[in-house]
Chain length 234, copies 2
């Protein structure tokens, strides 16, 4: 990570979600990526201890496995702006087009649209720090499922190859989830060892069609709330 | 972390243990700190994918909550040396005196004896990378219990203040455990916000004497195995 940016990775164990904090050391303004409702108090306390003011709460996509913490964070940080990729229909203060540049103090993130797990997924790329926050598009030795929320395995294959694997080999990969206790990877590693995305497109599509995964237990609650920025719909 | 060293943090969820890998990019030799038996296959696979040869498997102390993975790692890496602080009576290939310098390629670790959670606890300090692997001596906003394994809260208070809080403020703290999804801290943060170790020695001792913790569920198995380098005693 850049020396100008304070970085922290946090884990929410119910949904195995990683939340990331990036804080500008100069301006003390901060961004949070993929906050979870259950850990908002922990994250808000840490931000305040670090002397940071949270100005943006971003999601990589509309999550189906947990309720976003963006709404609850507003109670701690007045003026907080929520953000999401522009291909989403969900409520959000900001909607980022492909290649949009987010700037908060010395934190610079490029938004790359990486649909496939959902049609609205984005990857936030920190070029200064050499890191990509890939959401569920690319997981460590895996990837997000493609059988709901307008998911499409062909689209995901193209997104990962064109928009993530094209980054420098030593860029770190920070995903939205891990279920095996792994905390980070690199572009180099995933290009070499990802058991799905090292395959041909045809093989990848075949793998994704035959995962036989159960219906997500949280989806019927999480989607309507997350489409409403983490607030219970009326 | 130093640019010369490949660093990876890994989590074992049964005992909430963090395992750390440090790999020298030049010589491809690696050190692992606090490996767990249950995740040895994951860790060995990752080391091999990263092109690393594991030469040292270190423990910060004789753990009471899980069985060390040091012994099982030998099956994957011939010639692997296990290491532990010299105040321990446990079996180990190497026993490190206070201030001993471990060198593996471009990885340099200073061993600091930090007793109190157990009488044999050490902290491994990476001065080049600005990080300390504190085991159970110092946890994020907490510390290890002091009511078994010759634990002593007065000794722990002195260890943390004299040997960890004396490090530069921006040094990262990587503990052996976290139960709240936090992955790292800093000397600065713990000196300011640790709810126990910011107190006076008298208050700290009082807190530690009144934790009312349950008897550790794994201790009767873990201790005899770990005193025998992770092998079932005869």
């Amino acid at each position: 990570m850049s020396q100008k940016v304070l970085f922290r990775q946090l884990f929410e164990k119910e949904s195995s979600t990683y939340t990331y904090i990036l804080g500008c050391k100069r301006t003390k303004k901060a961004i949070i990526i993929d906050p979870v409702d259950l850990t908002v108090e922990r994250d808000a306390k840490l931000l305040k201890e670090l002397g940071l003011t949270l100005v943006k709460a971003l999601n990589t996509h509309v999550h189906a496995d947990h309720i976003t913490g963006t709404h609850l964070l507003r109670a701690h940080f007045e003026g907080l702006q929520t953000g999401l990729g522009s291909a989403n229909t969900a409520k959000s203060d900001e909607k980022f087009d492909d290649n949009f540049k987010i700037e908060v103090g010395d934190i610079n993130l490029e938004v790359r649209h990486t649909p496939g797990h959902t049609n609205g997924c984005v990857t936030y790329v920190d070029h200064d720090g050499g890191a990509a926050f890939t959401g569920d598009a690319l997981l460590i030795r895996g990837c997000g499922r493609t059988d709901f929320q307008e998911g499409c395995s062909k689209t995901l294959f193209k997104s990962v190859h064109d928009r993530i694997f094209s980054l420098p080999e030593d860029f770190k990969i920070y995903p939205a989830h891990d279920y095996k206790g792994q905390t980070s990877s690199s572009v180099h590693e995933e290009k070499q060892f990802n058991p799905r995305l090292t395959k041909s497109e045809t093989e990848f599509v075949d793998i994704m069609e035959n995962l036989g995964l159960a219906y997500p237990k949280m989806i019927d609650k999480a989607l309507p709330w997350n489409l409403n920025c983490g607030v219970e719909p009326e």
